[in-house]
């Protein structure tokens, strides 16, 4: 089996007396889309924030590329090549696409910002993702549709030669055609060899694009299985009850993990 690109083992996290994550194992494989599903309060966001380095871990290991790494903050994670695209897109409406993609990491020459190099690289990245719906890379983000904004946010993550991209509910606010675009883009990211994590409530999206599905139920991993082994209703059962047939928490945890 391929070695996971990013792997968390035995992660526990409590906020005060609330034990949010129980011995969670989570793995992201290169070239695969791993869907992270779970009901509200199952611990998805907490897990993402731990991966992103925003929260610390109470216990558990963080492995990247087979090696144990120390992660102390978002910058450490970004340095590893892990980018998070948040649900409320972190874009500035008053800046254009290039400016947003390079925000916080602008390239400069001795004479100030290097617009030529930044625009060229932004254009290359968008082209490599086969993005074709944007009128001009110099149009302001305010004029983009929801799907286009999501595209820019994802392209921003890809621009930094990242290895793992986490997408938090990327299709939550999108229409049918726009969802189509974003899912295509998610697939293309994985085809380029990136490890992609898709957090979604939409089972249709998950089944269509995911290679593996990790279901969280009340802070525990209910299942971590290839997507082709699951049906729509099985995922729903895993999310709502934590078990489905012989999958799930009630069984010994050894059988749940494949």
């Amino acid at each position: 089996m391929v070695q996971p690109l990013l792997e968390l083992r035995g992660v526990n996290k409590s906020f005060g007396v609330v034990h949010v994550l129980h011995d969670v194992d989570f793995a992201v494989y290169p070239g695969q889309v791993t869907a992270l599903v779970g009901d509200n309060g199952a611990g998805k966001s907490t897990l993402v924030k731990i991966i992103a380095g925003i929260y610390g871990r109470d216990s558990g290991d963080y492995h990247f590329d087979g090696k144990t790494v120390e992660v102390h903050g978002p910058r450490d994670v970004a340095a590893l090549g892990v980018e998070v695209v948040y649900q409320d897109l972190a874009l500035c409406d008053n800046l254009d696409i290039v400016e947003n993609m390079f925000l916080g990491r602008e390239e400069t020459t001795r004479l100030g910002l290097d617009e030529v190099s930044m625009e060229t690289r932004a254009r290359e990245t968008l082209a490599s993702l086969s993005v074709r719906t944007v009128k001009s890379v110099r149009q302001s983000v305010a004029s983009l549709s929801g799907g286009q904004r999501q595209t820019v946010a994802i392209a921003k993550a890809v621009l930094w030669t990242s290895k793992v991209v986490l997408l938090d509910e990327p299709t939550a606010a999108l229409g049918v055609a726009q969802t189509r675009q974003v899912l295509d883009l998610v697939r293309r990211l994985a085809d380029r060899g990136l490890g992609v994590v898709l957090i979604s409530h939409n089972m249709g999206d998950v089944l269509e694009v995911a290679d593996r599905i990790t279901a969280l139920y009340l802070g525990q991993v209910a299942a971590d299985v290839p997507a082709k082994d699951l049906t729509h209703s099985q995922i729903v059962e895993l999310i709502t009850a934590g078990r489905s047939g012989d999958l799930g928490i009630a069984d010994t945890s050894a059988t749940a993990a494949v």
């Binding site: 500035c92 925000l103 990491r105 254009r123 968008l126 719906t133 001009s136 890379v137």
Partner: protein, 424 residues
């Protein structure tokens, strides 16, 4: 504009070829500009139209308004408002307000005057001390806003009240300090020698032309988004006409009695304002810090997630604003020739906010340029200048200026609404 989203192209037709990299012609750019106007992105246009309107009204009402003597006067009067407004642009950019900028200027001017009179400091040392005082005030305000999270309105209102104590304590009630350092006072009452003015004007025009054409060449050679050549030429032409025209106008002897005196040349205030304008325009458009200012104003959370130190940006905006206020206080003292306890406590601040907003800086953050302060400052300065010539009672002046500020804020609010609906 068609929405490209609704048409799904087959995945095979990939690539990024639909991206148009330039406006093909001047007609296209004009069309784009009209679209942006319709979408609510007005920029300085209302201010420029307002300035033309005021000039037409005042010049038809009083034939002394358009004399070169009065125009030079207008430049000097506008100087301190423009500089203060330029500082205000920075706090407005990040969506904050600084109500204390006017009195911060007064306090700094008091320090400068004291250094000159009591300690015999050189003018430049005293100026540096004044700007340092301004920067310290900005640092205090910015830290309170950024670290404690107190709304800037409240913090700067407190500073507005407290800072009035500084000149009152140092000067004493009813007193005033003379401001007659030959260099600093000369900023308002002396002029650049004609020849130097012409050389500077030509250098500015040539440098602008060279920069614009160089930019055009480097962008078009790499196939990046650029404006059409025709538009660049028009921009150069307009700038040349304005700069050279004003230089010509101000190089004529404008003394009321030309046989007795010779008053000609550009007032020294103008080069100070132009230097500040160029410097801050560079900072805003060509540096990472400038880009971060816009980002914080547009979406502070996005800026934070992008790894920008939002607190530092916030504090720096207030530091820049108060430092510019110190320079503005200096120019204002230079114009009146004295510093009194009331300096900067009057209308200065509201004039400056008005100037920035009229010039096209948004009160809601994220939009604004240094040039906005210049255009808006000229509008604001023209009102009392023109009304003064018409011998109107001063209450009219307040009414008109208040009305103009309200009008500008309305334009800002309406254009913001249109932007969010048109999505430009």
């Amino acid at each position: 504009m068609s929405n490209p989203d609704t048409t799904t192209t087959p995945a095979a037709a990939s690539g990024f070829d639909n991206d148009n990299r330039q406006s093909a012609s001047i007609a296209d750019s004009a069309h784009d500009y009209l679209n942006r106007l319709r979408g609510g992105d007005m920029g300085s246009l209302p201010a420029i139209l307002g300035l033309i309107f005021l000039f037409v009204v005042f010049s038809s009402a009083n034939d002394r308004f358009l004399t070169t003597y009065n125009m030079a006067n207008l430049v000097v009067q506008a100087g301190s408002i423009i500089v203060l407004a330029m500082g205000i642009v920075f706090v407005l950019l990040i969506g904050e307000i600084d109500l204390s900028a006017g009195v911060a200027g007064g306090a700094s001017a008091t320090i400068i005057a004291l250094m000159l009179i009591d300690y015999d400091w050189y003018w430049w040392a005293a100026t540096l001390a004044g700007v340092a005082v301004g920067a310290l005030i900005g640092l205090a305000i910015g830290s309170l806003v950024a670290f404690l999270g107190i709304p800037s309105f409240v913090v700067t209102l407190a500073f507005f009240l407290a800072l009035q104590a500084v000149p009152l304590k140092l000067i004493g009630a009813g007193g005033s300090l003379r401001f007659n350092d030959p260099v600093l006072r000369g900023l308002s009452i002396k002029n650049v020698p004609d020849a130097v003015g012409w050389v500077a004007a030509i250098v500015i025009v040539v440098a602008f032309a060279a920069l614009t054409l160089w930019r055009y060449r480097s962008l078009s050679a790499k196939g990046l988004v650029h404006q059409p050549l025709g538009l660049a030429v028009i921009q150069i032409g307009v700038l040349a006409a304005i700069v050279l025209g004003l230089t010509a106008l101000l190089s004529v002897n404008r003394a009321p009695n030309p046989n007795l005196f010779n008053i000609s040349g550009i007032p020294w205030v103008a080069p100070v304002v132009i230097a500040l304008l160029l410097f801050w325009t560079f900072v805003l458009t060509k540096t990472r810090f400038g880009r971060h200012l816009y980002a914080v104003g547009g979406n502070a959370e996005a800026a934070r997630r992008a790894g920008i130190n939002v607190r530092r940006v916030r504090i720096m905006a207030f530091v820049i604003c108060s430092s510019m206020a110190a320079i503005s206080g200096l120019l204002s003292a230079s114009y009146t020739g004295k510093v009194s306890p009331g300096s900067g406590g009057g209308n200065e601040l509201l004039y400056a906010v008005g100037a920035a907003v009229i010039g096209g800086t948004s009160l809601f953050g994220g939009r604004g340029r240094a040039i906005n302060a210049v255009v808006g400052g000229l509008v604001i300065a023209t009102i009392p200048n023109g009304l003064g010539l018409l011998n109107q009672a001063s209450y009219i002046n307040f009414l008109v200026t208040g009305g103009v500020l309200l009008l500008a804020a309305s334009v800002d609010a309406i254009s913001r609404r249109r932007r969010s609906s048109a999505g430009v």
